[in-house]
Symmetry: C2
Subunit: 395 residues, 2 copies
Amino acid sequence: MSYSIPAPINSPQRILMGPGPSDTHPRVLAALARPTVGHLDPYFLQIMDELQTMLRAVFQTSNALTLAVSGTGSLGMEACVVNLIEPGDRMLVCVNGVFGGRMSDVAARAGAQVSTLERDYGEVFGAEEIAEAVRRLHPKVVGIVHAETSTGAWQPLQEIAEVVHAGDALLLVDCVTSLAGAPVEVDGWGLDAVYSGTQKCLSCPPGLAPVTFSQRAVEAIDRRQSKIASWYLDMTMVRNYWGESRAYHHTAPINSNYGLHEALRLVLEEGLEHRFSRHRRNHEALKAGLKALGIEYSVAEGLQLPMLNSVWVPKGIDDVALRSQLLNDYGIEIGGGLGPVKGRTLRIGLMGEASTARNVLLFLAALERCLLDQGLRLDCGAGVAAANAKYRNGE
Amino acid sequence: MSYSIPAPINSPQRILMGPGPSDTHPRVLAALARPTVGHLDPYFLQIMDELQTMLRAVFQTSNALTLAVSGTGSLGMEACVVNLIEPGDRMLVCVNGVFGGRMSDVAARAGAQVSTLERDYGEVFGAEEIAEAVRRLHPKVVGIVHAETSTGAWQPLQEIAEVVHAGDALLLVDCVTSLAGAPVEVDGWGLDAVYSGTQKCLSCPPGLAPVTFSQRAVEAIDRRQSKIASWYLDMTMVRNYWGESRAYHHTAPINSNYGLHEALRLVLEEGLEHRFSRHRRNHEALKAGLKALGIEYSVAEGLQLPMLNSVWVPKGIDDVALRSQLLNDYGIEIGGGLGPVKGRTLRIGLMGEASTARNVLLFLAALERCLLDQGLRLDCGAGVAAANAKYRNGE
C-alpha cells in the first residue's frame, strides 16, 4: 500500500448558519482540548454529575434518567425508540418532514408495528387528530418532532402530551433543534422520552445526544419482557454508569463531554429566558430583512422556528450556486432543502452562538450580493436596513 | 429547579496506564480544538477521504468500506454485528473474556442464533477447535477478540481466518486494543469485519470506532433480506456519506474526527513497524521490572499483549487501595480486573503515547512505593533496575 501523510487539520473559520452544526464558542473548543482522563476517574465522575444537573436544567426536568448518549442526535433518537419499543409494540409516528420519517424507519427496525400520521412538509399536527389516532390505534408510544429541521416548522406539544397520556401512551419527542433555543419544558408539558443533539442550539460540536426519560418511561423500560435490541443504548445498563454504582458499561467520550460541559455552562450563564429571547429577536430581524429582499418563508407565520428559517428559493435562482458562493466568498454555510423540497428551499440557521445580530446583518448583505450576481433585481441594501430597523424598534 | 453553575473543566494531567483511554498527544488535543465546520463542508469531505486513506494504512487493507463509526469501540462492535447478522442467522462467538461475552450478547440482541466456544480467562483459541465448531455449526459469522482487554491475552488470527473461510463463514474481529500497537493485517490474514476504538493504541480520546469490511462482508450485507436493525449503523447508508455521493446520513462528530486525523498522522509518521517495536520494547522492560518485584502475569508467556499487561495482585495487597494510591499520589491510572478476576488482577496499559520508558520506570518506582506502604517486603529499586537493564541490553 502506498500513501502519503496528509497535512494537519487546519479547518477554516466558517460562519455556521445552516441546519447544524452551529458555531462553537472558543471556550467550548478550549474545553475539548483539556487532558483526557479515564472514564472512571473521580474527576470525570464529578463532571458526569455536573452534566446531569445542567442537562436537567436545560430540559427543565427533574428526571433521574437524564444523560448524554455517546453518539450524535440520530443515535439519541434510536436510544429513545429502542428502549421503549419491544418487537410487536405499536408506535404512532407523526411525519411532517425528514426526521419524523427517520423516526418511523428507526421504529420499524426496532420491531414496532408502526402507524404514521402524515402531513405535508412545513405543516404541524393538531391535538385533535392525534387524540383520534390514539383512540383508534392504542399505541404504546407516540413519536413527534418538536422542531422539524428539514422544514423549519414548530410543533406545539403541551396539548398533544395531554391527549397522548389520556390514551395511556408515552410521548417521545425529537428536540434536536429546539433544545436551548426555544422552550422545552419536559416536566411542565409531560414529555416522556426526549432526545437532542449537541450541535444545534447548544453550540457544541456534534458527537453527543442529550436524552431524558420520565418516570413513566423508566417504568415501561423496567417492565420489558425482551432485552433492548441495542447493547450500547441499553438504558438499564447505561444508567448504572451514570448512577451511583458507576458500573463500567462503555468508555464515555471524555473530551466530547468536556465540550458539552462548557457549552451547558454558557447556556446557563446566559439563562434560558434570555437565550430564547435572543433567538426570537434575531429571527425577527432576519425575517424582516428577507421580506425586504422579497423572500418568503416556506412555513406559515406563527409556526416558524426561530433557530431554523426555511424559505423558498427565489424564482430563477440556482440554489447550489448560491450556497457555494455564500460559502466560498463569505465563509457562510447555510443549508438546502431536504426530501421533497430539495433544491426548492434554503435553510438558514440561527442557532446558539450563531444567533447574533452580526451574523444576521452579514448574511443579508452577502445574500443580496449573491442574488444580484445571479441577475435578481433588488432594492439594494433593503435587507440590511429592514433587519436593522427591527433591531432598533423591536422588543 | 435550583442549581448552581459548576466550575469550568480543569481536568488533571494523568498518566493513563489503564486499559484505555490512553494518554493523548498535545497535537491531537490541539486538533480537537480547531473550528468546527459543517459535515458537508468541502474541507470536511477532504478530511474524511484522508481519514479513510490513513485508516486503510493502519488496518493494512485496501477495503473500500473503511471508516470511523460515530461512537466508541463498543458501538463499532455493534456496527459489525448488526450489519452482518440477520435475525435467525447463526453466529459462533469465541468467549475468553469480557469482550467476547459482550459480542455474544450483542449478537443475540441482533437476533442471531448464538453458539459460544468458551475458554478460561487468559487463554486463547486454537484453529483446530474453531474448525471443528465451524464444521459442526455452519455459522454465517465467527466472532473473536484479537486482544482481550479484560485478560491481556493475544489471540493469533491467521490460521483461524483460514478455517473460518474454509467453512464459508465470515470472520468478525475485535481489534479495539491491538490496532496500532501490534500487527493487524486485515488483508494479509483475511479478516472480514474488524472494529477498533480510538482511545487505545491510537491515543486519541474515545468517541470514534474505526471499522473495515472486506468485499466478502460487503457482499453479505448487500445480500440481506431484512433491513439492518440499527438505522444509525446501517452501512448501506453510511457508506454513501463516506463515498462519492456524499448523501447526508447523520451529522458526523466533526471535531472528534479532527482528533483522529491527527492521531493517525502521528501513527504513520512513526511508522507501524517502529510503533509495534516500541510497544514490545516497553512491554519487555515492564515485565522485567514486575518480575523483579515478584509480580506474575496472569497470561502465559507468549500470549501476553504488549499494550495490556495483566498481572496477579500480590498476596496480601488491597487492589483498590493500591490503585487509589497510584492515582492520588502519582497521577497514574491503571485498571483492575473485570469479570471473574475482579479484584484479583491489575491491568497495566502501555498504549500509544503512554508506551514510553519514562512511564515504565515511573510506574515501577511508584508501584514499589505503594507495595511497601502496604507492608510487602521488596528488594528496593529492583523493579526500576531490571527494567533499565532490559532497555540497555534489549533489542
